[in-house]
């Protein structure tokens, strides 16, 4: 399973990376991007990803803009996206779901929660 982790906090990217490694994903099988712009470049150049895990609040291009851009068309239009963010308001969750995210995790989260969500996406 190839995963793209998008978060402006390097610590957060490492935490998520660590969790996905615990779930059996190898280090070579996930890429990291610090904002939506870098993520979009990776999506265009690095081929197919099975899941995109993205933060919301980021500089240059935020997570919501990235989701909208991915869903607008292209090779990754159908790629499952999980938003992992501190934005815990109902309004934000609805906005993200409307934009096309498949699942939503509010920080702080446990490894079990991410595992559960990823399992659901892979099986679904």
């Amino acid at each position: 399973m190839r995963i793209l982790i998008v978060d402006d906090s390097s610590t957060m990217r490492r935490i998520i990376g660590n969790v996905v490694q615990q779930l059996g994903v190898k280090k070579d099988d996930f890429d990291e991007a610090e904002d939506g712009v870098v993520a979009w470049k990776l999506l265009e150049t690095n081929g197919q990803y099975d899941v995109i895990l993205t933060d919301w609040n980021m500089p240059n291009m935020n997570g919501l803009e990235l989701v909208k851009k991915v869903r607008a068309g292209g090779a990754h239009q159908k790629t499952p996206i999980v938003m992992i963010t501190t934005e815990g308001g109902k309004g934000e969750v609805i906005t993200a779901l409307k934009a096309g995210v498949n699942n939503y995790i509010v920080k702080p989260f446990s490894a079990d929660i991410l595992k559960e969500k990823l399992d659901g996406l892979v099986k679904g």
Binding site: S9, T11, I15, N18, Q22, T86, K107, P108, A111
Partner: protein
């Protein structure tokens, strides 16, 4: 300017000398001469008693000291500039405080007071630096945790190898002790191998639970990101407030800045009464 650790240590040791047990010795040392003085005074009193007992001997020391005091005043008054006038001293301190107020006003005009507008005093810039430093340190903490996790994985691998070897030895010793029940060394070593197998299992369990704690710590480090975002929210509020205040205080007119009045009627300090004003004017009129 921040202090180095060595400077802090030196400062701490200095403070320790003052506050330590030595201080009581120092106090005792200081008290000793006082005690000696007291004794000499007592001795003087005794001598006075003795002298009073002797006929014809009169102590006029008090008179002479009074005379000496008068002499001192005469001497001081004869020296130019040596006055004991309290009002002059008060006047001087008043002038000093006036100068201080004026210099503070200057500092405010130059945006230097209460703090100079330097990078280390800029709120948003400082908060930004705190967020960046915190991110850097969090990354370093993560490196340490990852290192411990990697080391634990190696320990687990070695432990697994040892466990497998002990298991094979256990099987070997089991078959040997069954075949040769009279040779006690086989059964003894079999017991030892079983005990070591238990130890390796316990070690594996300990490493696993330690790893779980490290994962827990890694998960808790998400709060660093959450706190960083809280700081960013505060920064955003300050930036917006700054824009708002700049907008609301902005002067669209091209009027040049006028000199402001320092003392206006109704102010509590340094306002001249009408009579004083008139007398001052007339005083100046006389001089001219």
């Amino acid at each position: 300017m921040s202090m180095s650790q060595e400077e802090i240590e030196a400062l701490m040791s200095g403070a320790g000398d003052l506050g330590g047990d030595d201080s009581s010795d120092a106090v005792e040392d200081a008290v000793e001469p006082i005690a000696e003085t007291q004794t000499s005074e007592e001795e003087e009193v005794n001598i006075d008693d003795i002298l009073a007992g002797i006929d014809g001997v009169v102590d006029d020391g008090s008179e002479s000291s009074e005379k000496e005091e008068d002499n001192f005043d005469d001497i001081l008054s004869s020296i130019e500039g040596m006055t004991n006038d309290q009002s002059e001293i008060q006047e001087e301190s008043k002038n000093n405080s006036k100068e201080t107020v004026e210099s503070i006003e200057d500092l405010i005009d130059q945006s230097q007071y209460p703090m100079p507008v330097k990078n280390e005093n800029k709120v948003v810039s400082q908060l930004n630096q705190v967020a960046d430093d915190s991110e850097q340190k969090a990354s370093q903490i993560f490196d340490v945790l990852s290192f411990v996790l990697d080391e634990n994985n190696e320990i687990s691998n070695y432990n697994k190898e040892m466990g497998e070897f002990i298991k094979s030895q256990e099987e070997l010793l089991e078959s040997l002790s069954t075949k040769f029940p009279n040779i006690s060394i086989f059964s003894e070593n079999l017991e030892k191998a079983k005990s070591l197998a238990d130890s390796t299992a316990a070690l594996a369990q300990k490493v696993d639970s330690e790893n779980m704690k490290i994962f827990e710590a890694m998960e808790l480090m998400q709060f660093h990101d959450i706190n960083r975002q809280k700081i960013e929210r505060v920064m955003a509020v300050i930036r917006k407030l700054n824009d708002y205040l700049n907008g609301i205080f902005e002067d669209d007119s091209d009027k040049p800045e006028v000199q402001i009045a320092k003392h206006i009627s109704g102010d509590s300090n340094d306002i001249m009464e009408a009579d004083d004003l008139e007398s001052l004017i007339s005083e100046f009129g006389k001089e001219s």
